[in-house]
Point group: C2
Chain length 337, copies 2
Amino acid sequence: MGLAGKVLTLFEGIVKGDRASLSRGITLVESTRLDHRKQARELVSACARLERPRSLRIGLTGTPGVGKSTFIEAFGMLLLSKGHGAVDPSSSRSGGSILGDKTRMQDLSVAQGAYVRPSPSRGSLGGVARSTMESIILAEASGYDICLVETVGVGQSETMVADMVDMFVLLLQPGSGDELQGVKRGIMELADLIVINKADGALEIPAKLTRTEIANALHLMVPRRKSWNPKCVRASAVTGYNLDRVWTLIQGYFDGLRLSGEWDSLRAGQQSKWMWREVHNLLMARINDDPDTRGFAETLKADVANGSVPPSVAAEQIVEMFLSSYSARQIKTNSES
Amino acid sequence: MGLAGKVLTLFEGIVKGDRASLSRGITLVESTRLDHRKQARELVSACARLERPRSLRIGLTGTPGVGKSTFIEAFGMLLLSKGHGAVDPSSSRSGGSILGDKTRMQDLSVAQGAYVRPSPSRGSLGGVARSTMESIILAEASGYDICLVETVGVGQSETMVADMVDMFVLLLQPGSGDELQGVKRGIMELADLIVINKADGALEIPAKLTRTEIANALHLMVPRRKSWNPKCVRASAVTGYNLDRVWTLIQGYFDGLRLSGEWDSLRAGQQSKWMWREVHNLLMARINDDPDTRGFAETLKADVANGSVPPSVAAEQIVEMFLSSYSARQIKTNSES
Ligand SMILES: Nc1nc2c(ncn2[C@@H]2O[C@H](COP(=O)(O)OP(=O)(O)OP(=O)(O)O)[C@@H](O)[C@H]2O)c(=O)[nH]1
Ligand SMILES: Nc1nc2c(ncn2[C@@H]2O[C@H](COP(=O)(O)OP(=O)(O)OP(=O)(O)O)[C@@H](O)[C@H]2O)c(=O)[nH]1
Ligand SMILES: [Mg+2]
Ligand SMILES: [Mg+2]
């Protein structure tokens, strides 16, 4: 399949590492317009076929105010100084989603080789997940070897991101166990590395206590990986304290994945899961786009809610309606042409 | 829609509270044969339309050997002595799935008004979930006012059952926190009531310590219900110690649900979730039943796993293939008739 026109230009720009092309490519994969989807599929497919070394896909989460943006900026600069290209491909710079983070992210986003995108706040979870996944593929084709995917740490987005990245980093603040309640409990279990951020000034001592508490809690958990036990470390995005240590731990984690062969199976499992999840999303979108089926589901709603129609029976009716309505349209199209 | 023949006979038997009819009804909803599904839909729909007081749907989980079967037997007898009809509709008595539990369950299953089914060990999770859901509807139509749904406590089945029941009871044994590792951590968060079973003989004192430990852990968790804080209680299925207390706590829980109005919204949310989950299951089954689409997905597998085909692109191709293959068959059927 040869690329042509706009898609070819984008592809060539991305492969050369041109920042503007990557940005336009990400905007393209974020669009849901049918013609854009077609172009996006071509672009992403071409990028996926390139032989590139695997990038380190790292999810970063934490409650609002914990210092994610500050941390990514400081950590990103550190990576750049070591010659790595770091990118947060999770949202489009175009559109309004960057706003508040603009000034703080400035340092990193102008530095050569880094590409930062704050986490998105718009669109459906499924849609965001798909476009993030595709953006990662584009960023990798563009030569970035580290993808930092930021999530807000309060919704369902973490488990989705956890299925998309190789490693999951949780940022916490110094403070007692009560503060942990802001973080959904399942997220502790996903974390391969917990960073107690803001370990500076008056918070240095509390950070030590928190680290001990968290390290104890981690001992009670079953590790997600055979090759790695989750670790907890203090750091400061402001003073830069221990950022080097964080990087060393991250490298240790990936060494384990590589040597144990877990990285291969992890990626293979994720990709297949993503494919089927996306099949689900696409079919649900089709159902939702079909006025007959949507209307029918709407009329069932109250009876299903009050229990007078069994959910399983309603479901079979919806599926029948959807498929027959789809093929009726095909038959109509066929007989008209 | 009028019922006829076999389905009508089953329906009438179930409504009369005839045990054999209920058993045959459950066997019917567990079948995946197309003609059986059609009959099952009719039967379940008729049962759902009956005006019945809501039954207490209670999930019961715990690691193997913790005493689930013993507990259900003793607790079921207690409920019977209080005039309640208790049922575990989660599996068919027909087939081989009862086996080991047969003797232990004897007491309860012969007692008038009780109907016990151990948790199933065969079939897909989605299929088991659907048939359990439908079995609950049949059991309720048959007059049972308490449904105990047992799960094994180690897989994904708990979260499914949690979406199906009103209350979730976790059985633990006396012992240190280490033992908790056998229970998936997310399950603690689902539990509305934790019973430290085997609080008898030499285990009485350890049971006290475990209860305190667990009660402390529960304090750190965000309650699932506005009207109820999860509780932890010791009991013994063998001596009968505290079984009365367990029943009082369960009643308190349901009083809270009733008074706060949470029960209505809980059920409504569950039913709608079930409907869409079932839509998903049915569509996936259709994809799997279509040889063209299944074959196509098979050929994509390796490339998706190694990353050379993006999952999102593969998914769009699978959906296209499935829908066009479906309507091609319809068109063929149409033109032949
Ligand atoms: N003392 C100290 N303050 C920090 C550190 N990191 C971040 N902060 C401060 O914490 C506040 C929030 O930091 P952000 O980076 O905006 O936090 P965030 O997690 O991105 O917040 P949201 O974008 O709202 O989710 C700012 O005032 C930062 O200056 C740190 O390491 N030490
Ligand atoms: N001392 C004591 N033993 C108990 C109690 N409840 C169950 N047991 C014993 O624990 C063992 C396991 O009990 P079961 O009821 O079969 O446990 P289960 O959870 O159903 O186990 P699985 O069906 O394998 O998942 C049996 O030997 C029971 O007699 C109790 O309250 N006290
Ligand atoms: Mg931020
Ligand atoms: Mg048992």
